[in-house]
């Protein structure tokens, strides 16, 4: 399936607290559909306000806002980040990933990076 839509509204998501969820890119929309369908996912939102501090490659503190906050049917919680494949090895992506993994770990949550094979 090819999704070329950018910047749009996912209307009436059943598992989100909001009337619509906004997406910036096609992959995010694809992921929203995936989460709606996935029976193990109870709740999700992109509008969560989570900010994770991390130190950039050159030593500055920044805050990183991951894409999705998920709650599974068993009550477990996850952060999902959608990332272009070319950025998976970018040093700052790795640092964000590490910070997010630790952030999640401290809260008993899981961090999952989602990308796409070419």
């Amino acid at each position: 399936m090819s999704v070329n839509t950018h910047y749009g509204d996912f209307e009436d998501p059943k598992k989100s607290p909001y009337s619509i969820e906004r997406y910036d890119y096609g992959w995010e929309l694809e992921h929203m559909r995936f989460l709606e369908k996935d029976k193990t996912v109870a709740k999700w939102t992109k509008n969560h306000g989570v900010e994770i501090p991390y130190v950039t490659e050159s030593g500055n503190i920044r805050k990183y806002r991951p894409d999705f906050l998920i709650e599974r049917s068993d009550g477990s919680k996850e952060i999902h980040e959608i990332k272009g494949r070319h950025l998976l090895e970018n040093p700052d992506t790795l640092r964000k990933r590490e910070a997010a993994t630790n952030w999640c770990k401290r809260r008993g949550m899981r961090f999952v990076l989602i990308s796409k094979e070419k």
């Binding site: 399936m1 999704v3 070329n4 950018h6 910047y7 509204d9 209307e11 598992k15 989100s16 607290p17 909001y18 009337s19 619509i20 906004r22 890119y25 096609g26 992959w27 694809e30 995936f34 709740k43 999700w44 939102t45 509008n47 969560h48 306000g49 989570v50 991390y54 130190v55 950039t56 490659e57 050159s58 030593g59 500055n60 503190i61 806002r65 906050l69 998920i70 709650e71 919680k77 272009g84 494949r85 070319h86 950025l87 970018n90 700052d92 990933r97 910070a99 993994t101 952030w103 770990k105 401290r106 809260r107 949550m109 961090f111 999952v112 990076l113 989602i114 990308s115 796409k116 094979e117």
Partner: protein
Amino acid sequence: MFNAFRQYEKEYIDWIQGGYPETNIFTQDFIANLLEQDRKNRLWKHQEEAFLRTVYSYEILGRKNLLLNIVTGGGKTAIIAAVIAWLRSCHNIQSFLIMVPNLIVRDRLETDFKDKSVFRRFKLFPPGQEHLINTVDLHTLGERGGPQGMLESGIILGNIQQFYQHHITGQRNLAYIKRYIDNLAIFNDEAHNTPADEYTNILAHLSEKAKFRLDTTATPDRADGHRSSRGYTNTDSGEKRTIDEMDEEFEKIERGLTATQWVTDYDPMKKQIAVALNRLEEQRRRAKAVGENKYKPILFVVAICIKDAERAVKVLEDDFDLKGKVLLVTEDSADTVVGKKANGQPLTAREAAKEIGSFNSPYEAVVSVLMLREGWDVPEVSAILLLRKFSSPVYGQQVIGRGLRRNLRGTDEPEICAVIDHPKLKHDWLWELVRAKVRSDVGQAELFGDEDLPPKRKPQILIRPENLIDIPNPEGEEDVDLSDIEAMEDTTTDYPNWKGVIAGFSYDRSEIEITRVNLSGIKGIALDETRRIEIHTPPEVTSSEGSDEEDNGNLIEKLKWNVLDMGIALLYEAGIGSHERGYMYNVIMDHIRDKMFNGESAGFASKEDLKLALLKLPEISRNFSSLPGLVESIVRYRDVG
């Protein structure tokens, strides 16, 4: 941080429904007065909402630094005034500094705060506190002599240049506030300008004194592209296009042909202006039919440089018979006297631009470079002609925002802003961003009649609070690993000879034998058509693993993206906007060519060299940021070294 409030949404709604519990009792009176149904002038719903969220953030969450994202034309001034009145009457804050990025924004705020008109219009001080209006006199920096005016007035309005530390007036203004003013609140209007290094420094100085700071902006994107950087970091949409655009720009500059020449040479410009004037004519008919002739549509022409702007004025005047009806507002012409005010005082072009929508103004069109991109509120702007290319989402949205102010208030009648663009400027991303209806291949004499407007964007409303997800509390103290930055120096040096400095960086080319690899993640790939990959945190074991083979094209692509990201990050850290990213990209790529590709371009580099460059990117980044002041010097001394 943008949208940081979302996690408090549930509690905030409870707070409203519970009648503002745990709030200062004066604040409760203040809110009751502000929200009173029968008052003559109420704030708009979203302004009330912004105010209440500000109160909640300050009083309940204990946040003193806030950022409000208010849509263009959303009336930021009234919100700022409401917050000032509240801090004055409920928190005894006595001084309010409003910082703006330029004179156009300053003029707009001056009009609203002069004579305290905004406080009076909305009766912002509650009964029994009306006398406090006498304590919010306006002092505009640069007027009424010396800085002591700051002490005599409650509100100090200044543009950022009036605090710049490289001149004596700026030093004096900043020192005066730091020394004499204690109970201070800062309002940083058009906050997307903040990354400019002077801006950041001044705000850092002042924040020591501030009890409260409110940043306001219409765009969550910052002028340095920091947040919008996602626009060129995703393969699925804008990102490839953006770097391609950059490459294309570079190529054209090298060939001496700029993208804007498609619209700024005489013949194409004349055609575009003809199309624009037709759109203006249509807007006039709409104003007459739908708007009952109550407003006068204006054409706004946006050029990229003063020379193009002057040429556009000449074409409008000579070829379209608009002599005396076109106003030019550029950095050079803003203070030119173009007429007289009603009181006989001279009227400058900048002031004339504010009144251009009035029936008394002789002008039908205004031509500007970037002077009128923010703070210029003329709802009558009904047609916009773009004679320039936007690469920045911030500037693009700001300019389009000039045409989105409503003329027909209190009705549901839709309004149209017609923007005349040229396909060669490749603004598809902008039209997607503002969700415009695009009509292509428009001829000079073509008339549209009534337009079908695109559907309104739906608001995002909390309708299933039970689906809000609680984030568990962390175990132990929240902290960030700062070991990386412990050794950082705080002093910067000037490097006029930056080329020599970076030429001195060396990179070890020796091969490394990999004997052990730490697992960085476990990758799950869906075998169906979704091609979805999930990368999970691995268990803590080690293993060895071969690396994927990639072709040169992929490696070059990866290198370009990473260099671009690195350039933006280096600029950001140096407090420089990402408008220099193209230049920085070239500097880093040249450096890599010299050091790793024997002076050849990436296209001629071997696979091993490309891999080496990718491997060394973190080291290159560390080298560039290891000497504080180096990146600034690279930008400052771009033609020397």
